[in-house]
């Protein structure tokens, strides 16, 4: 995208900050969240290359990300269930700007992955799911709508680089690469 330079006086950030009437303050807010019983185990699973969910004994859904309770039945979940990690793209977007509204050099493709997990109808509004970045698809694939419903699988980081984080999955990628499909 090309920006056109218009004539006139341009205000610089530093000019604005010199104005009387501006109080500058940067919050120093720092936290260290306790992940808790459910998410801690989930994170340990990721380090081992496993995606873990919790089974609700009442509605039989497997919750991913896991919770110690089922929010619909309001029942405590009872056991850990590993899900295969595969799934399909529920929705997907291309993002062109960063958090400070700066234009990204390479647009990000972010998806909601509907994971293969027991307890849900094929098109039920609720599902076991994760937000993650998609790789192996192009901007045009996304814009054309071809990516919705695409079968995907996690691309794991090498074992020695995993830390017990959602980033242990580098991204989700198509289950079948284009060349194999043909």
């Amino acid at each position: 995208m090309r920006s056109i330079r218009l004539p006139g006086m341009y205000l610089r950030e530093e000019d604005l900050r010199k104005l009387v009437g501006v109080i500058e303050y940067t919050p120093r807010a720092r936290y260290s969240y306790s992940a808790g019983q459910a998410l801690s185990e989930f994170l340990r699973g990721l380090r081992e290359g496993r995606i873990l969910g919790r089974l609700c004994p009442s509605c039989n859904r497997v919750l991913v990300p896991p919770r110690v309770y089922c929010e619909h039945c309001y029942t405590q979940t009872t056991e850990w269930v590993e899900v295969p990690g595969t799934g399909r793209v529920e929705s997907v977007v291309v993002s062109y700007i960063g958090t400070a509204r700066e234009r990204l050099e390479k647009p990000e493709i972010i998806a909601v992955i509907r994971l293969d997990a027991p307890g849900y109808g094929r098109d039920s509004f609720d599902f076991a799911g994760l937000f993650h970045k998609l790789c192996g698809v192009t901007e045009d694939d996304v814009k054309s709508g071809r990516v919705i419903g695409l079968r995907v699988k996690p691309r794991w980081k090498p074992l020695e680089l995993r830390t017990g984080s959602i980033l242990d999955i580098e991204c989700f990628e198509p289950e079948v690469v284009e060349s194999e499909r043909a």
């Binding site: 969240y33 459910a38 309770y69």
Partner: protein
């Protein structure tokens, strides 16, 4: 007015520890809620009409944290709302919703996980007017010191009286399993320790505690249907001072918000002489001086709170026990859950379930919470048993 009466029918809590590292805040909320719903004999998904959570984004470390409220308390796809305020304010909202006839059963939740906040002093600083922040005052709790000095000045209370509050409350807490910051103190220990913000020493400033609390309220009809344990809310009201204006203009050494909230709560409860018509009080004491100041503003200090304190009037075995739980100095400061555990302790007393801190013949109580610095919001409730 012939509005319905409102009862507390269930209480639940989890934590009351300086740190609960093995559970997330959501899991703590669940633990408290399940206990409260079991106590109230209600099914969260069928019987509870409205869910209310009192929380504040910067304590949570999550923006728009109300989105996190429904799930752990059973409020998914149900009317759930969040109030940025002390837990006792949420009780006030629940009270109104039930009294108006809109709902029969309301669950109120508040939680605190200060152990998850690495920069709690900076969060306090962030609560100051941006213009004041520019001064870079090292300890944002300086306001408490200013208030303490101003209170001592008009009341005639001395440094020793403030220290006596720390001794009374922290020692009393040794009888309360929920008081993680209790300790046997002597007056000399307090007076000889270095001030943090003069005149307050570390013993006179409440320490932080992680907790989740859930309280279920119901209309009289539903209360009688679901349980046999009813604690009635006879009156509840709140008031907020300057804060959107300027803290500098605050009525220093006084708490008009507490005074005003209490007068309306007393009026609702039909109290004309609260000290004779109630048996004990759980009141704000996150700083030592503030308990004395609160007693003054609540009208529970004929002749001066500090003089009555000296005579043992407010001791657990005195004429009018104040903070028989050990107060915040022993139980801790639990951010927006603070008012809710004060209420919880008062309910336990009235139910006869207060264990080691149980008072004899407790039938009616005053619960007073305060939220600051710097917002200076106060809520007062009057509760009683049948």
């Amino acid at each position: 007015m012939s509005y319905v009466r409102v009862a507390v029918i269930g209480i639940g809590y989890y934590g009351f520890k300086p740190s609960v590292p093995d559970l997330s805040f959501r899991e703590m909320m669940l633990e408290a809620a399940m206990r409260a719903y079991y106590d109230a004999n209600v099914d969260a998904r069928r019987d509870i009409d409205v869910f209310i959570s009192c929380q504040e984004d910067f304590w949570e470390g999550i923006a728009i944290s109300n989105e996190f409220a429904p799930e752990p308390i059973g409020g998914v796809l149900r009317p759930t709302m969040t109030i940025t305020g002390d837990g006792l304010q949420c009780i006030g909202q629940a009270y109104m919703i039930i009294k108006s006839g809109l709902a029969d059963i309301v669950a109120v939740e508040a939680h605190a996980k200060p152990s998850d906040i690495e920069s709690i002093q900076e969060i306090y600083e962030l609560s100051l007017d941006p213009q004041v922040r520019t001064l870079n005052i090292a300890n944002p709790l300086f306001q408490a010191g200013l208030d303490a000095i101003a209170y001592m000045r008009w009341s005639g209370a001395r440094r020793e009286h403030l220290a006596m509050i720390a001794v009374k409350n922290r020692s009393r807490g040794l009888l309360n399993p929920r008081a993680s910051h209790a300790s046997k103190l002597s007056l000399d220990m307090v007076l000889n320790s270095k001030p943090v913000i003069y005149p307050l020493t570390r013993f006179e400033i409440a320490d932080y505690t992680d907790v989740a609390i859930n309280i279920v309220l119901a209309s009289e009809e539903k209360a009688r249907k679901f349980t046999e344990k009813h604690i009635w809310i006879d009156g509840i009201w709140w008031s907020t001072e300057v804060g959107s204006g300027a803290i500098e203009w605050h009525e220093w050494g006084r708490m008009p918000s507490l005074r005003l909230a209490s007068r309306e709560a007393y009026r609702q409860a039909g109290l004309s002489n609260p000290i004779n018509q109630t048996d004990f009080a759980e009141v704000e004491d996150r700083f030592s001086y503030i308990e004395l100041l609160a007693l003054e503003e609540l009208g529970l200090a004929p002749g001066g709170a500090h003089r009555l304190l000296e005579s043992g009037f407010y001791d657990a075995n005195g004429s009018y026990p104040v903070n028989p739980s050990g107060g915040s100095l022993a139980v801790g400061l639990t951010l927006e859950a603070t008012g809710l555990w004060r209420l919880l302790e008062a309910i336990l007393q009235l139910r006869g379930e207060a264990g080691g801190v149980q008072l004899r013949d407790a039938r009616r109580a005053i619960v007073a919470s305060w939220r600051g610095p710097p917002t200076y919001t106060s809520t007062v409730a009057v509760i009683s048993k049948e």
